[in-house]
Symmetry: C2
Subunit: 388 residues, 2 copies
């Protein structure tokens, strides 16, 4: 009996196209097969997205075969068959004896199989997605195989989204906006920060009435002196009038994220915060207005930096990155010196956090898709400082 | 003005002791310094635990210095000063220009500094916690430095907890139990799975009245045909009478997790589930009864496997692992062939999930600490199939 497949918004033809583009990149470096281990890349090519990547898992693409094979530990292989669009026999569960042993792991299982295949000499791997220990082990144990670094190959393919991917991200964005609206309701003086965080997180998981949200990495909402930091946990102390909070989170659909950031002031915002935020909004508007096919990411980032510079502010960190499966993509950045040329259907998180002092900063962001003539922002949430 | 430190349950003396044990391990392999990059290990040695590990960060321990130095990207360095117990000048923010550039990253910044230090020749690294690409780059660029693999060094230290760590885990467990009680309230026919997941997650974040919960990786609650899987997301479909759910989650305090798993039947459980669960409970009790200082992890795992085997069931996956910061620890496993000898103050997640068919499985677990004479289970939640 074949596994009952869970819902998947992408067609078989779309997946075959993604794989074909992978094989073209493999041909360019004469790789006979490609062992994909990055969890987001596996999701991109198969739809498999259970939270199992802390144990070795791999999608093996052969240059001369249309269908790849997904290798998961035995325990996770039923999830593979339920989530991946592949035929059941293309999901292999390797024995549990390879888990939790300090001498062997799933790479030994897989490479023993690969090493025994005739004609298979050049094996692509993502050197950035396997550990140094694994790479040294593979070189030592399978000296006959030439290992070729294919890091970033799939990340580059992921940069331009399909219409179906953009449709999924619109759903994720609806969830994000609901959660931001919920934040504006629950961040209130006297309530503990963790209690507000619980409500915002619940909104992201509940999703909309038509579809739910997903398991994800959690929200950020540093407040008070923690607004000088970007990735710190909330506290269990009461929310206080006069503080502001830097909200950062995103809804997820089929592991695609749409991020949104706003600062939220509890009570009348300080002059210092209001002045800064005014420049940030203007900078955000100016950067978005610069977006159209043919411009560089550097030009968009520079547009922002020049606006805030007028106010005496320096944006020292990058202005964002491509976004999609599991949030951050790594193929390029909204850095002032990034020469990547923008093209239709690329999606970016324009991330304009300003962490200016050890204990003071503010955030604003938008996730946008590049269109034929400019851009479209996913969120409908007002682009302003939230004041409650 | 020194940074205002966030609360930290561990004393300076405790951290100094952890570092001293690290340096003893470094001395054994004659490493002049140790570049720790694993996020959980950095947290263990410093208290720093913001969610920034997707970008290079490192704690550098010198063999001849009492205090190490934490290297974070500039944007995260205020969080480092607020969270780490170290003096402010021992938290270095490296320039944002090293972020999002495909030619250089924080390793180049750090190793340029290390390579210029006299007498520093043997550098310890966790080969399991850096990428293959990074290891090859460091070997190529810094040929003068001998790189020594210190993977698992700190993981082995983490295995035995201090009284202060156990106290923190008791708090985490209180949160876990509250969330399990909440699950038994909200998993109800007609409600969507995602709506129940939202409530359970909110309980984990809210925590208790005395202290809050934290940002964490999310809960698991596969139901129906997904009970054959272990790491899949909930759906947005309605909960149905006759199904059961495999609940797996844990509360967090200061990044320490205490895990708990139970199956929950909606309506009268099937004969098939009840029979299996009876053996699982008996197996769990038997395994726990086998715990005392001096026995091996293998003996505990075997005790479980023999009980369920009487019922005709095979436990093919390991029976658990040490648990602490960020949940899973990797220094050993509750595998039938693991010869690690149990000692007081080690903490394990006895994880007894049975994924028996593609679409059928059940789970039970306990997190326990080894005592001088036996064990103590953290949770007070009844060890039985939850029926609602």
């Amino acid at each position: 009996v074949p596994a009952t497949k869970l819902p998947n918004p992408f067609s078989r033809e779309e997946y075959l196209g993604r794989l074909r583009r992978c094989r073209e990149a493999m041909t360019a470096v004469d790789a006979h097969c490609f062992v994909v281990t990055d969890a987001s890349n596996i999701c991109y090519l198969t739809g498999y997205g259970a939270d199992s990547s802390y144990i070795m898992q791999a999608l093996v693409i052969h240059a001369d075969a249309e269908l790849p094979t997904l290798y998961l530990r035995r325990q996770d292989s039923p999830a593979g068959r339920q989530m991946a669009w592949l035929p059941d026999e293309h999901v292999v569960g390797y024995p549990e004896s390879f888990i939790g042993d300090d001498r062997i792991d799933g790479f030994d299982y897989l490479f023993d199989r690969l090493a025994s295949q005739r004609g298979l000499e050049r094996v692509g791997l993502e050197f950035g997605a396997i550990s140094g220990a694994t790479l040294e082990k593979l070189r030592a144990r399978y000296g006959r195989l030439a290992l070729v670094d294919l890091s970033d190959t799939i990340e580059r393919l992921r940069l331009t989204k399909s219409p179906a991917e953009i449709a999924v991200m619109r759903e994720a964005s609806e969830i994000t906006d609901l959660a931001m609206a919920r934040a504006a309701e629950v961040v209130r003086p006297g309530r503990r920060e963790c209690d507000a965080a619980a409500e915002i997180t619940a909104a992201l998981i509940r999703g909309t009435k038509r579809y739910g949200g997903e398991r994800f990495g959690g929200i950020l909402m540093p407040g008070g002196a923690q607004t000088g930091t970007s990735h710190i946990n909330w506290t269990d102390q009461p929310i206080e009038r006069g503080k502001h909070y830097n909200l950062e989170f995103g809804g997820f659909r089929f592991r695609y994220a749409v991020a949104l950031m706003r600062s939220l002031a509890v009570g009348t915002p300080s002059q210092k915060l209001s002045r800064l935020y005014g420049y940030m909004i203007e900078g955000c508007n100016t950067a978005l207005a610069a977006v159209k096919p043919g411009v560089t990411l550097g030009a968009i980032a520079t547009a922002y930096c020049e606006v805030v510079k007028k106010g005496g502010y320096i944006k020292d960190s990058r202005c964002g990155y491509p976004i999609g499966i599991d949030w951050l993509e790594t193929s390029c950045s909204l850095r002032t010196d990034d020469l990547t040329v923008v093209a239709p259907n690329m999606v970016f998180h324009l991330m304009l956090g300003m962490w200016l002092e050890e204990d003071f900063g503010a955030v604003i962001s938008e996730t946008f898709v590049v269109t034929l003539t400019g851009h479209e922002v996913f969120s409908r949430y007002p682009r302003e400082l939230i004041v409650v």
